[in-house]
Every structure is written in C-alpha cells, then in structure tokens.
Symmetry: C2
Subunit: 239 residues, 2 copies
Amino acid sequence: MPAPRVTEGRVDDRRTAGRRSGDRRAGQSVPPATVARLPGYLRALEATASQGAVLTSSDELAARAGVTPAQLRKDLSFLGSYGRRGVGYDVGHLREQITVVLGLADVRRVIVVGVGNLGHALANYAGIAERGFALVGLVDADPAVVGSTVAGLVVEPADDLRGVVSRTGATIAVLTTPAAVAQQVCDELVAAGVVGILTFAPGALRVPPHVDVRAVDVASELQILAFHDRARSADGGAS
Amino acid sequence: MPAPRVTEGRVDDRRTAGRRSGDRRAGQSVPPATVARLPGYLRALEATASQGAVLTSSDELAARAGVTPAQLRKDLSFLGSYGRRGVGYDVGHLREQITVVLGLADVRRVIVVGVGNLGHALANYAGIAERGFALVGLVDADPAVVGSTVAGLVVEPADDLRGVVSRTGATIAVLTTPAAVAQQVCDELVAAGVVGILTFAPGALRVPPHVDVRAVDVASELQILAFHDRARSADGGAS
DNA sequence: TAGATTGTTAATCGATTAACAATC
DNA sequence: TAGATTGTTAATCGATTAACAATC
C-alpha cells in the first residue's frame, strides 16, 4: 500500500480541515448537488477497490459513476485536494475521505415507520446495514402487524413512536405510511428528535428548518417517464 | 361546472398548442426541473378537487405542493396560460392540462423486472394503477418465483424478457434486480423497445439517448441524510 | 525531461426569486 | 371602479462545462 503524500487527518486544505467534530465548514460549503453525487462516487470507489486497484483517475471513476471527469474533479475539489496531479487518486484514501464527509464514519440509527409491503421490503434491504446504518426500530399502526418480527426486530405500536425513537436514539426515519397520516407521523418524528426523514409517501411534508427530508415518490417518477414517453411517441415514429 | 374561458384543445399559446400528437414543442420547451414538479401539482390539484373546490390560486396550490407561489406560476407558464388574472385557476381544467402534458391521457404499460421483496411491493403498489399506468408484466430470474401469481399476474422467466416486452407492448420498466445484473437487464429492455426505466438498483445505467432513466437509490438517500445529520451533530449541540 | 492528470478558473447554462404590469 | 391574482420580466443564484496552468 503506497503511503499517501498527505497524512490522514492532516489539515491540508483551507475548506475541509481534518477536525471530525466542531467543523461545520464542510457542511456549509459543499454544494447540495455535489453532496447528492457523493454516494455514487463512494460506490464507484468500492467497485474499483474490489477489483484490486489502488489508484484510479477522474476518467475511470467518472465513467463508473456516470458523470463527466470534469464534474467529478469539480465535486471532489469541494472536499479538498485528495488527488495527485499526473498520478490520480488513491482509492482507499479517497474512499475514507468521502466516508467521513458523508458522516458515515459513525453509525446512524434508523427506524422504519410503516411496515406494509414497502416497509417490509426496506427493512430487509441489505444496503442499509451494508452502508453503515443500523436498523434499530420498526413501528406500525396495524395491530395485526405489531408484535411480529421483521428483519430481526419486533414491530412496535405507533402509539409508542416517541418512546421508540428516544429509546433507540434513532436520528433518521424511513416513512412508508399511507399519505393520509404521513404529516402527522412526521410531526411526531420531529418532536421525538429525528433530524432526517426519507419518505415514500406522496405529498409534501412540512418540517422545521433543522430537519432534512428526502422524498421518493414512485408514482411521480413514473409520470416523469411518461412525459418523455409521450414526447417521443408524439412525433409519430419520425426520426 | 363553470365554462372555462379557453375552450379545451384550442390553440391559445404559442408554446403549447392543443394538438395531441405531432406536437413536440412542449416536450422540448418545458424545463426538466419543471417537469419533475408537475406530478406534485397534479396531486395537489386532486386534493383540492376532492374537497369540492372548483377554483384555486397559486398561493393555495403552491402551499399544498410545497413550493413558492412564484415558482408554481413560473412552472405553469411553460405549459400555457391556464389561469385567469384576478381569479385563479379552474381546478378541473388545469388538472386536465397537466395530465395531457405529462402524457397521462393515454395508458402507459409498465413491467416490473425483479420480483423480490421490493418488486413485490411495487407490483402491489396501488399508486401505479391509480395514476393511469397499467401493470402488464412481471419477470424474474428465480425459478422459485417464476410461475407464481403476484398482483394478479403470473411471473414470467427472465429468459423471455424480450418476449414479454413485445407481447405486452410495455414502454416503461421498473427495475429491481440485483445491481450485478442491472446493466445487462437494462440492455435487454432497451433492445426490446422500452423507452423509460425506473431503476432501484444502485449504480449508473448506460442507455442510448432516446431512453430515459430515473434512478431511486435508497442507500444514497440515507447517505445524503447522514451528511446533514453529521453537519448538525458536528456543532456539538451549539446553535 | 516528457507525459499525464489534477485542481482551478472563467464562461456558459439553467433554475429560482422577486417585483410588477396586465387584466380579470 | 377597486381589489385580486396571474403571467412575465429582470435580477440573482447555483450548477455545469471546458480549458489549461500547476505539478506530479
């Protein structure tokens, strides 16, 4: 393993000092569009590493991640200078840096609220545990589901949502309840201290500014695909 | 029902003529960011309609959709002039317009490839049928799953993916296979004539320019939430 | 040294916001 | 008419792209 020129943890860039805590500058200065692409870069790095490569280039990594090399370099430049001109990037080192920036150095505790078909599938989704998240609780309102074991956890009643959050220390919640109750459940999650919510319920959620919401809406995605399908078929097979 | 001032189908705006087919201008001129918000507006309109309202305003609609009134009006302006100054928007009329623009006036045929936990949940997802999509096929590579009935359809073998696409006339596919085979399945879908793919498999898919891909990556979403969680906890409870 | 590849700069592009004239 | 609300304009902001100097 080649010694990286830059010692780990060394303060080598004015934007992203090596301090793990107390440093909010990275959080403030990495553009949202860049943050959203970092998980893809991390995945690409893992694929590269699994093939035994120690060095990689912006060309290779960008191809794997499905972006342009220019965009990849620009994105990485917000994190610091972790490559070497004329050489490329150290796979393991860059991987660690992105892991730290994304906040994956510590385990984040996740609960799933709503254990229907989708919640069940997500609770069993291997990607959650594989990527440094700990599934620590399952909650559902249906008495027929409460008490059953899913993904190694006993489903707890929605009544006790607050208790589950505080006992488990969950900071992130996956929301798969019906749309009709999503806002109410969301409010309870926020009151209980959750700061990140991944919702699969259609419709906008209102949250205070310190809470982050990511929404996945399957029906919306299909509708967006329909738009392009229409635009395409509208030319009557021309082209 | 109040007669809308603008007759349906009338060519009343230079950008979006009323022609249903042969008109590619809307597809070319509506910005992607706007297209991505249209499903949310449609949902907001449906909620408004279900409460019996016939008229609405950009203020009300924007609040429901979780955007600013200025953004809503700007977005709608790309579709045409469907409101009335001083009055607001006719709920039913606007709903129809957005439905047409999104290509939901015709039923789009959808297949699900990969009937594991997630594929199973999505096949049973009511939102698909409710929003003008027809689930017309299920495909899986696992012999233990092939032949079983899910959501009223018999799961067909992955060998016959092309046949399923051509027999059903599916133009949109939902992809929930393991990441390792996603690109290969994607290639087959494209070869069979699918033009829209909603993938839940992590990793970038390479497709020709005429094919549209929307990617939902649950692990990435959680990692993005972790970034903000970190940025928040990094200030040591300050603020 | 010569070749390679990063990190950064500047230009372009697209999206958002705010304000207001048009007009119902 | 007076009040209300749209549709549009212009300004701002953020993201992407391309090119290249820095430097390994």
